[in-house]
Amino acid sequence: MTLRAYIISRILLTIPMILILLTMVFVIMRVLPGDPVLLHFEKAEHPEAIEEMRRKLGLDKPIWVQYFDYLFGLLRGDLGKSMHDFSPVAEQIFSAFPATLELAIYSMIVAVSIGIFLGVEASKSYNQPKDHTIRVFGIVTYAIPIFFLGMIFQIIFAVNLRWLPVGGRTYPAMEPKGFTMPLSQPPGGVTTHLFLSCVAGLIVSTLCLVAFKLKGKKITRKILGVLISVFLATWILWAWVGWHFISMGELHIATGLYTIDSLLEGNLYKFAEAIRYLILPSLTLGLVLSGVFIRLTRSNMFETLRLDFVTAAKARGLKERTVIYGYALRNAFLPILTMMGLQFAALLAGAILTETTFSWPGLGRYIVERINFRDYTAIQGAVVFFGILVSIVSLVTDLLYAYLDPRIRL
């Protein structure tokens, strides 16, 4: 099986997986006692108002009609509207996802750097006081409740020292905007634009030609065909994309990750603020996660350091750092990578406790809130979204495996 076939089959396999997940959630949510219709009425409810609301939420139809309606909506890329506030679920999930992603990335960086560094240090001095200290540290951070550690940090760094904020993602009205470039229509209108696209196509195909020439090959008919297709493809792409942006009036790039958006915007103050707000949550979450990585790295490195190739490398006079981080760690890395993939997928599903402790506007809180409200569509949407995310993460992990371990390459 080639790598491409492998990737395609993996992607195809996610479809039944998500369908099964979705069906389970669909049924479980409706079997759970509690009715989203009634929850719209805190106080007095009138029977007509209840009926009206049931119709509005689409819950008056038979359950199998609801199920297929939802599936067909999903095929069109429509996650439906929330049963709590009637806004599109996709919009809500995407508005919170960058916050979750940013927190996940930075806590993963913290966890992995602390975990690997301490794990390596422990394995070097196996069964010595240093090793015992690191192991105890690993166990303590692993066992400590996130909200407790978070609160200790808040009390020290926010309340007493006042260096860092207690919570939130950034100071209100400071949200980084990303990169925006105003675009004006070219003076000649469509014709000029198409001409410019033509020039762009020429430039790209010339570059291709240079690349071929540099390889020392003669221009054959085959290469000429490739060049013409490159020219046409560039021309069409440039014409279409360029015109699309011009008609929007501006080119706007914003990732929703504040550390990146503030840099795109070129505002270091906002960047520093974004980092300031990130430090405590990512440090808390990263420390708690690091315990796992310490233990994994320690045991794997211990095994690897006893292997012959390490001794051979040392005998050749390579620096210890090179031997450990360049040779041994790369061999001991596979289980760590698996764990990284698993943990990262879990982090994307929302670190609910961290998000609550630091008022971080991510997805974890959204899901808990919506389960309480029996917001069927929101929960279904979130499950589909996470299903896709987790499969992407595990696919990437597997591909990295192949990259790191030549034996797995097929």
Binding site: G34, K43, Q92
Partner: protein
């Protein structure tokens, strides 16, 4: 040779890092925006539940923001008790009522302008009420409070005179006009047949208000929860000449829970923490010298509802025996650390018509409980047993603890045995409508500030049908209807006295406690009024 190369590499890395750090620090201070206008930062754990359109918004925080963005015909003066003389002019300067209480005429303030310079007049009043009653959003206050059962129609008499014709004489009509559901909307932003919902990136288009002390200049939500809100002073506010609002800009920060809100005010990150701080956090913040804790009358009450459809609570004597066995002192001190008030009436303390009616049954009076239950055959060996239901998902403060304490105080009588049943709010809500619960704890925030809002929805046979407790007493219905329809405050006070006496006799609902309103601010924050209206008056608050 290798050594020098390593050193030079380290040196290069060090220089690059140093440059980045210096650039970051310099950039940080260069780009720091200058602060000159008066700004207040508020923190809260609340969020707008649905939207900021009075045709649908029916939650505390939604109304708090609507009150900052809009104005009503009348409003409550700061420090109000809910009495008629507490209602002061806002967009209406004076008013009169016909002798039968059915026709109300309002003279409007002249020269008040919307954002775009259009002058406010009588057609806007008519538009607002026609729109709210026309949309009749099922979850909105127009349906919930029943505007259409009260108002027959709104007529424009002249440019500055508007007249309301009522279907029934309704004594609390001015209170109804003072509540945020009755705030005037701007027709340019309020389509006649559609509720205005949140629009990402368009704060002005996300609400239909105008005419208020503030404008909403920023509102972002992530995943259906508010993330940032900025209010800026409205130069067209009708009371701008009076020097309001006192603060130019209010920034609202949103926290996930009481603990982080308490830490934020303690760390000086925010100027004001308003709602919801837990009893423990408030007690802790009271000890800080750099903070000021404000306590005000609250209008939130909690009460125990008894199901009268079937035994044991179909018998008023049993209900009375339970009412006599409730130890409110223990509940207030143990569960809420003394931060709420014991409540012996449906009408809250601080509102006209309130009297400690249930105190006649003792607090607790176990002898009375035993005497009442003995003839019915309940004693130490054959106890009165029932299930006490409560919600567990944090819909009300400290619910499980409250239920535990209620159980303990009831069982201390020696003749009652209680089993606790906890459900999350979604399920609890469903059980209520299915009438499966014998005794259940509920809570109430007022819609309009009048005793009627604490009596009619609970004790009237049709007004209280949503409780599903099956209480029906024609004498009670008659008294309530009289009290609703009479415009004389002294007559109403007498009627409410009779209603409360009758309530103690029937015991369909047992009041437990009344919450207080709490705000914690920096010591230099002034102009905080926490009265029975529960309103946060943004325009009065300022920092010295």
């Amino acid at each position: 040779m290798r050594g020098t190369r390593a050193i030079s590499r380290i040196a290069i890395v060090g220089i690059v890092i140093a440059i980045i750090v210096v650039a970051a620090v310099v950039g940080y201070f260069l780009m720091q925006p200058a602060k000159k206008e008066s700004v207040l930062i508020m923190g809260t754990t609340d969020t707008v539940e649905s939207c900021l359109d009075p045709a649908r918004a029916y939650d505390y925080f939604g109304w708090e923001i609507i009150q900052a963005l809009g104005s009503g015909l009348v409003e409550y003066r700061p420090g109000a008790t809910g009495a008629a003389e507490d209602i002061v002019p806002a967009l209406a300067t004076s008013w009169s009522v016909s002798s039968d209480g059915l026709v109300w005429t309002f003279n409007l303030r002249q020269g008040v302008k919307f954002d775009d310079g259009t002058e406010f007049n009588a057609t806007h009043v008519k538009y607002t009420f026609d729109r709210g009653m026309g949309i009749a959003d099922p979850e909105g206050p127009f349906v919930g409070i029943g505007y259409s059962d009260i108002i027959e129609n709104v007529t424009v008499v002249s440019k500055y005179v508007v007249r309301f014709y009522l279907k029934i004489p309704f004594s609390a009509f001015l209170s109804l006009l003072a509540c945020q559901a009755s705030y005037i909307v701007d027709p340019k932003y309020a389509p006649p047949d559609q509720v205005v919902e949140y629009k990402a990136g368009d704060a002005r288009g996300s609400h239909p208000m105008g005419l208020g002390p503030y404008r909403l200049t920023k509102w972002t939500r992530t995943a259906g929860r508010d993330q940032e809100m900025v209010l800026e002073a409205n130069p067209n506010y009708w009371n701008a000449s009076g020097g309001y609002p006192k603060t130019q800009k209010i920034i609202i920060k949103f926290y996930a829970d009481s603990a982080s809100l308490a830490l934020a005010i303690d760390a000086g990150e925010i100027d004001i923490a308003f709602r919801q701080l837990s009893a423990t956090d408030i007690n802790n913040l009271k000890t800080k010298t750099h903070l000021k804790v404000w306590e005000g009358t609250g209008a939130f009450i909690q009460y125990l509802v008894l199901q009268e459809k079937r035994p044991p609570f179909d018998n008023p004597t049993v209900r009375k025996a339970v009412a006599a066995a409730i130890n409110r002192t223990a509940i207030v001190n143990t569960v809420f650390l003394g931060q709420v008030k014991k409540l012996y009436s449906m009408i809250p303390i601080g509102m006209f018509g309130h009297r400690d009616a249930f105190l006649t049954l003792g607090d607790p009076n176990y002898t009375l409980t035993r005497t009442l239950l003995a003839p019915l055959g309940y004693n130490e060996t054959h106890k009165l047993t029932f299930k006490l239901w409560y919600e567990t998902s944090g819909h009300y403060p400290q619910s499980p603890e409250l239920a535990q304490m209620l159980k303990a105080s009831l069982e201390a009588s020696g003749v009652i045995s209680v089993t606790l049943e906890g459900r999350d709010w979604a399920q609890y809500r469903q059980e209520r409508i299915a009438e499966t619960m014998d005794a259940y704890i509920l809570g109430w925030y007022p819609d309009y500030i009048d005793p009627d809002d604490y009596i009619y929805p609970f004790l009237h046979s049709s007004g209280g049908s949503w409780l599903h407790h099956n209480y029906n007493n024609t004498e009670m219905d008659q008294l309530i209807e009289w009290a609703r329809g009479n415009t004389s405050q002294s007559v109403r006070e007498q009627l409410y006295e009779q209603i409360q006496d009758l309530m103690v006799k029937d015991c369909p609902i047992i009041p437990i406690y009344q919450g207080s309103a709490w705000a914690v601010t920096k010591t230099n924050v002034k102009g905080v009024y926490l009265d029975i209206t529960q309103s946060w008056r943004h325009w009065l608050v300022y920092k010295e």
